[in-house]
Amino acid sequence: MIQKIIKRLLAGVATLLIVYAATFVMAVSIPGNPFQSGDRNMPAEAEQALRARYHMDNNWTFFTEYLAGAIRLDFGPAFTYSDWTCNQIIASALPVSMLIGLLAILIALIIGIPLGVVGAVRRDRLPDFVGLSIVILGISIPTFVTGTAALTLFCVYLKWLPVGGWGTVWHLPLPAITLSLPFIAYIARLTRTSMIGTLECDFIRTARAKGLPERVVIWKHALRVAFLPVLSYLGPATAQAMTGSFVVEKVFGIPGLGQHFVNAALNRDPGLILATVLVFSAMLIALNIVVDLLYGVVDPRIKAAV
């Protein structure tokens, strides 16, 4: 077991290296660089000196130097945010994004799973249709529309919650709910499909034949098996939610990590691009390993799968 986990971790490190190399090639090959801001450029000598300072005059040395730094968990300076290092940016923004992301995933599970189960049990009836409508609305309405609508309704007109910002508990619910809507939709859809398949299995018939109440059959026996596809979706989904969403952060004015993914790429800031991508990929890989471990817990038959 432990051997298998170590194997997975090593494979994860290899994947990170490949992701690093791919991102590096993309980040370096795009035209423009963080030292040219457009109208007011620094003298060529100064730019040359800065490049030499950060080993950016030669792509190969930049590649190795950055990698050496990243292994020590030091991502170097953020070129477009003076006085900030990438580490400081991540340290200040990641906890914010993780909190909102985790809340969003929790909300999505609490609402999405019952929605899917009811849709599967009452298949092709009214509850199923209502569930499908909620799912389609969830994937159809862009986050900036739901976010702005929620902000206008609850903060501006009803004045129940503060308008944007960060710091108190009251700043949490709206962004978390807004972020959770697409996840609710996917989880409900996944649960419904896999529940329909599970309810046709023999062990469900056995459970019913034993005289177990339908409630126990569905929510204990069937859901446990039907949950597996949702579990494998949760790995990437949680990684995505916890690294922040640009739209939610912009609408609600939250100092999260999502904005840095976008701004780093728009500013052509190679240091910050690499740092954010590595954080995202590391989280993705780690969560996928956790999910595979949980697989064995939920369904003991597939313990060997890790």
């Binding site: 994947t15 490949i18 992701v19 791919a22 991102t23 993309m26 980040a27 090959s29 795009i30 035209p31 423009g32 499908l132 389609i136 609305l137 994937i139 159809s140 309405i141 862009p142 986050t143 900036f144 529309v145 702005t148 206008t152 697409p182 996917y186 859809r189 996944l190 499909t193 896999s194 398949g197 599970t198 046709e200 023999d202 062990f203 098996v225 039907a226 597996l228 596809p229 494998s232 979706y233 990437p236 989904a237 995505q240 939610a241 969403s245 640009f246 739209v247 939610v248 999502g258 993914f261 976008v262 790429a265 728009l266 052509r268 691009i273 954010t276 991508v277 995202f280 990929s281 993705l284």
Partner: protein, 340 residues
């Protein structure tokens, strides 16, 4: 890819797409979709070929009057004025104008067509690239297959936003040069390439998986045993069975691409300002929100149009999946990433 947790006895043999089922599921939404398309193409149907001119005419009309004079319409259109143009004109006045005095309604019409065009072209590109990539990987097998799929894996593990922005940033200069400075055209093409540059990944995975599983099916084996050639099997057995999943995923790419364009417009790197798109117009409405004056029409109408379009497309896509691909679980859909 999730599969049923217990083995099903339902034969995976070709099931005829039941058109009736499809129609009962999504007839309302198909109707909605066609209605929107019909309305959006009305300026062309009524042969007001120049929407810019029409817009000018509306803008320079007496701005306070609720219904503008018909003269402006008649002067800007080639055909005779009809009852429909009158109604449209009233609708246009009721929907209000944006901060530059442009008629919101007249910007929504081409905006919808541009959004839909982006969606359909992105789906087309995703189909061509994804099907070629996926089927080549599956048919080549072995090391080539593994290498090709690792490429897809790596592209998948990069954050979506970053890939699109980097593609867009990287392509802007060479493509603008290629189109000889026609920045509006170049911008559209770049946007398309950036959006479809990530949507073909899911298609490639689906097609590869499908080809791999089809290759092992008894009917392919039987055909091979009967002496059928490689090309014959591909043409008669593999290709027809691929049509279902490809149609389903192509239909799902359309709303996804429209959503992604809206997201990119929100970032300010989507369609460039003079050209409207649903996402661009919705973003303009969202940006006009302030606590002092309510420009509610700027946010309500574009957002309603965007959401209605996406809901209709998603319902149709869902119904298509039910009708064409009954065995596929929507677990495979989780491999496509949502824009947040």
């Amino acid at each position: 890819m999730g599969s049923s947790p217990c083995t099903s006895m339902v034969s995976p043999a070709r099931q005829l797409p039941s058109l009736r089922r499809l129609l009962t599921y999504c007839s309302v939404w198909l109707l909605v979709l066609f209605t929107i398309i019909a309305i959006a193409t009305l300026p062309w149907t009524l042969s007001w070929m120049n929407i810019q001119q029409l817009d000018e005419a509306v803008r320079h009309g007496p701005a306070v009057a609720p219904v503008l004079s018909m003269d402006a319409m008649i002067h800007s259109s080639d055909g005779p004025p009809s009852a429909i143009s009158g109604v449209l004109h009233n609708v246009s006045s009721c929907m209000g104008h944006d901060d530059l005095g442009r008629s919101l309604f007249l910007r929504l019409l081409p905006g919808f067509l541009i959004s839909l065009g982006i969606g359909i072209s992105a789906a087309g590109i995703a189909v061509v690239v994804g099907v070629l990539f996926g089927s080549i990987a599956a048919l080549a097998g072995g090391k080539i297959d593994a290498a090709m799929m690792r490429v897809v894996d790596v592209l998948f593990s990069l954050p979506y936003v970053l890939t699109v922005i980097l593609l867009k940033v990287a392509l802007t200069r060479p493509l603008t040069a290629l189109f000889g400075g026609e920045s509006a055209v170049a911008n559209l093409v770049i946007l398309l390439v950036a959006i479809s540059g990530v949507s073909w990944l899911t298609m490639a995975r689906v097609v590869r998986g499908q080809v791999l599983s089809l290759r092992e099916q008894p009917f392919v084996e039987a055909s091979r045993a009967a002496g059928a050639g490689w090309l014959h099997i591909l043409r008669r057995h593999i290709a027809p069975n691929l049509m279902g999943p490809i149609t389903v995923y192509a239909a799902l790419v359309v709303p996804q691409a429209i959503m992604q364009e809206a997201f990119l417009s929100f970032l300010g790197i989507g369609i460039q300002p003079p050209t409207p798109s649903l996402g661009r117009l919705a973003t303009e409405g969202v940006e006009a929100v302030n606590t002092f004056v309510s420009y509610w029409w700027l946010i309500v109408f574009p957002c309603a149009a965007l959401v209605l379009t996406l809901v209709a497309l998603n319902f149709v896509g869902d119904a298509l999946r039910d009708a064409l691909d009954p065995k596929s679980s929507s677990a495979s859909r989780t491999t496509s990433r949502s824009v947040r």
